[in-house]
Amino acid sequence: MQGTLLTYGSKRYLWGGLIGAVALFVSYFYYSRTMTPSGSTVWGLVYGWIGLIAILVLMFLGIRKRWYSSHLGTLEGWTSAHVYLGLLTLLIIPMHAGFRFGWDVHTLAYVLLVVVVLSGIVGLLIYHTVPVILTTHESGMLPDKLEAEINQILKEMKHVAAAKPVVFQHLYQEEARRCRELKSQGWRILFTRVDPAAILAQRMRDLHNLLADIPATDQEGFSKFAGVVLQKTELEAYLAGQMRLKNGLQSWLYVHVPVSIAMVAAVGIHLLVVLYY
């Protein structure tokens, strides 16, 4: 299905990218026959300008994305163009530099660009695979409803625990704490695999151990209470799974965007250096 973003407008940007790449190769072939390629030749300068304009257009996506009232095409079109133009820059810049690299700010700019493009490709892969998984997870329940359910259960637990021995209240507080922790998981959640079955099994064992401390009269009440706790644990596991996937969908942007800004800064320095020295 990702095909549609990459094939937007009857694959117009794909074709544009391919034709652009071919044009670049052909021109570079001609160029390298005529003179020694480097950034300081006329050709090099032309490639440089193309690269600069390309980078500016690529960065503009960030603005167009938030310019909701814009009539400049659709965001999907812009994103599609962004992908192919981004890939093209991988070609344009080395051609501009005549494939000469060294340990300097100029190469740094390119290295950062490569990181940006690679993170973009990772992003595309994530966008291709995660939504379907997330939808399967969500077919159980949407996140807002899950949270509401969990809160409702907590309220009921509080109500029930109030009239029971201390063990119940401790259990309630434990659950409330888990709930808070889940909400503030943030980044850690990305890297911890969520295995609902294992989590449930563990919780069941914990509850079973607690059973020993319950006086006989409250055992049945505790079983019911434990049932509710397990329900909540299951819902939380679902929620954690969904949160993880959702965070995953955004995670790559935390590399893609900052590094692209760093790259632009590096390009700026590169331009300064080149124009004044």
Partner: protein
């Protein structure tokens, strides 16, 4: 104990007893039950008199145990902190902190009738019959204001003044007389004479009482148009009724047979009733032949007239039925169609009600007057939805045409509140007997339908499962629905942000409350239904309305925040929002760096209805679709969704 409840939100955590079960009482209950424990005392055995939306909501609340209803109940007495409610099987003591009494004020019809006042009809909403001077059928007894059906205070005051002047023998012009004179200035004579002329010229209005006729004309628009003027085009979204005072019009349909002459209507006839009654788009294009004088009456005014003047309703209905018959079956002549219309039966079905079941013996032919139905067949494991028929279509002919097997080939269920007109088998056979051509046409359609149904049934498994669920969600009722392909949606919520950004910060799109079918989500966003239920109960009349292009939108300037449209929408896509003051560009800029302008407390602003308006003021179309980076969000019209579903299901 109180009769008034200005603001339900000042009550919290109380045990409240609501006495009364009309609209006002139940609205109060619904407002209070979120934060309080509410009980309702209803002296009837169920909630009879509620609006559909309220009925639905209160039953939901009762089922969820948010509200306790005592039916067939009366108040025995109040004790300190308790109400004693008298039920058929005993007295129940209910803890009560606050009693609210909203038993309402209905027109005291029995009393008035005992006084000798005659009412227009047996209908519950019928009004007393009054002369143009507001005199009832009892000489010397005048009925004015709300009792005569005019709910505004100013009207009551005007009427009172007129009646007194009349009794004193002074000729007084009713307040609206100058308006009427101005409107009818192309006619001659006194206003009464002009009104008589109109009633004489247009048979539809012949039996209308004087006062309602004046009311109607006040709301009507007179059009004096040249020849060749297009009154409306096929598929327009207008829904008013037109009457021909002078001249002639021709009606053309795009699905015309070659050599067929357009339908011609002359002086005295009316047109536009199809859209008026079914709420669907115009079924044909109407053009004037010579110059003409037309009277255009808006839908609400016409519906009101029909409710109060049964002869008008009957006349319109029969013409509607006759014309639908001649429209669908070109071979039948008008007179016969009228005869059939006279014999036809009207029936109403609630949402989800079965009209007939697969396997039943077929005994009638059905025309859909308003609403829509779905056709289902028994599949291997469950009922499979095959088709959907909107108003103006017919069904039920297959069983009647097949001499060998007169059993229904499918089950037909109403998808929303539907009114059908049925012709009994005998009348149907009579019709076919008289017009053999028709039999052939029907057979052809029947064969086509049978083949189609077979094909659809085979396509059934996944696609149709979604079809049924989408039907429930009103995707078919909509003319333009937002769907989200979840396999492409990266949950960036740009669509929601775009909606908010283009609508003064108030989004009309909510993703988290949508419904999910397979990987297609139907988010909470207006479907712009063909037959919008939200338009049915707007007090100003046109604060929520339909644009000629089909978009249903809210006119903020006229919205009084009553919430009827939100309650009537079966899909929950209309929201009552406190108005935020509009911020200009500078305000937004300042807002970005935290220097927002002094904001008045938004909760103190009145609420207004807010819903998706398809970004009608934006030439580029809906912002949500334009702002989706992966193309997951798309809008479809019913014509396209079949294709989409098939593609997605693959």
């Amino acid at each position: 104990m109180t009769y008034k409840m200005a603001d339900p939100f000042i009550y919290e955590d109380l045990d409240i007893m609501m006495v009364g079960a009309g609209d006002a009482a139940i609205e109060g209950v619904l407002a209070l039950c979120e934060r309080n424990r509410v009980s309702v005392v209803n002296r009837n055995s169920e909630f009879y008199r509620l609006k559909d939306a309220l009925d639905r909501q209160i039953n939901e609340k009762i089922k969820a145990r948010n509200v306790i209803a005592y039916h067939s109940a009366t108040i025995d007495r109040f004790e300190h902190g308790y109400t004693l409610v008298s039920l058929p099987d005993g007295v129940v003591k209910v803890k009560t902190d606050l009693v609210i009494i909203r038993i309402g004020a209905a027109l005291p019809r029995p009393f008035l009738e005992k006084c000798g006042v005659t009412f227009a009809s047996k209908d519950r909403s019928a009004l007393p019959v009054i002369s143009e001077h507001y005199e009832s059928s009892v000489p010397g007894l005048y009925v004015i204001g709300a009792a005569a059906g005019y709910n505004l205070i100013k009207q009551g005051m005007n009427h009172g003044y007129e009646v007194v002047e009349h009794i004193l023998g002074r000729q007084i012009e009713p307040a609206e007389e100058p308006l009427l004179r101005e409107k009818l200035k192309f006619l001659e004579g006194s206003t009464t004479e002009r009104l008589d002329y109109i009633a004489r010229t247009i048979p539809l209005l012949a039996e209308v009482q004087k006062q309602p006729l004046r009311e109607l004309l006040l709301q009507a628009t007179v059009h004096r148009v040249p020849p060749g003027h297009v009154v409306f085009r096929e598929n327009d979204f207008t829904d008013s009724l037109y009457m021909i005072l002078d001249g002639e019009v021709e009606i053309e349909f795009s699905l015309q047979l070659p050599g067929e002459r357009p339908l011609s209507l002359k002086r005295g006839a009316f047109f536009g009733e199809m859209s008026l009654l079914s709420g669907r788009r115009r079924s044909g294009t109407v053009t004037t032949v010579g110059s003409a004088t037309l009277l255009e009456v808006p839908r609400k005014a016409m519906l009101r007239l029909m409710a109060n003047e049964p002869p008008v309703k009957r006349f319109l209905d029969e013409t509607f039925i006759a014309r639908t018959i001649t429209h669908l079956f070109r071979d039948i002549d008008e007179d016969f169609a009228k005869e059939l219309a006279h014999r036809a039966e009207s029936k109403s079905f609630k949402k989800g009600e079965v009209i007939f079941k697969e396997g039943d013996v077929g005994d009638a032919f059905y025309l859909i007057r308003s609403g829509s139905v779905k056709l289902t067949k028994r599949g291997r494991a469950r009922e499979i939805v095959l088709k959907y028929f909107p108003a103006g279509q017919y069904f039920g002919e297959i069983a009647l045409l097949n001499p060998e097997d007169s059993r229904r080939t499918a089950t037909v269920i109403a998808t929303i509140r539907t009114e059908v007109v049925l012709l009994k088998k005998d009348d149907f056979d009579l019709m076919l007997g008289r017009f053999p051509e028709l039999k052939r046409t029907l057979r052809q359609t029947m064969e086509r339908r049978l083949v189609e149904n077979q094909a659809l049934q085979m396509l059934a498994s996944t696609a149709s499962g979604q079809l049924d669920e989408l039907l429930e969600e009103g995707v078919f009722q909509g003319t333009d629905v937002l769907l989200i392909d979840e396999s492409k949606c990266v949950r960036c919520e740009n669509c929601v942000n775009a909606c908010a950004a283009t609508h003064n910060g108030q989004t009309r799109l909510y993703l988290n409350e949508g419904v999910l079918f397979g990987n297609l989500k139907v988010p909470t966003s207006c479907r712009h239904c063909e037959n919008p239920l939200c338009l049915t109960d707007c007090p100003p009349g046109d604060a929520i309305l339909r644009d000629p292009r089909g978009e249903v939108y809210v006119d903020e300037a006229k919205c009084i925040g009553c919430g009827n449209c939100a309650a009537n929408c079966p899909y929950g896509v209309i929201f009552m929002m406190h108005q935020k003051p509009k911020t200009g560009a500078l305000g937004r800029l300042l807002g970005l760096i935290g220097l927002a302008a002094e904001e008045t407390n938004p909760d103190e602003q009145p609420t207004k209805a807010v819903k998706c308006d398809l970004c009608r003021n934006d030439s580029a179309g809906p912002a949500c679709v334009r702002s989706c980076p992966t193309g997951a969000a798309f809008r479809v019209s019913p014509a396209e969704y079949f294709e989409r579903i098939k593609a997605v299901g693959d």
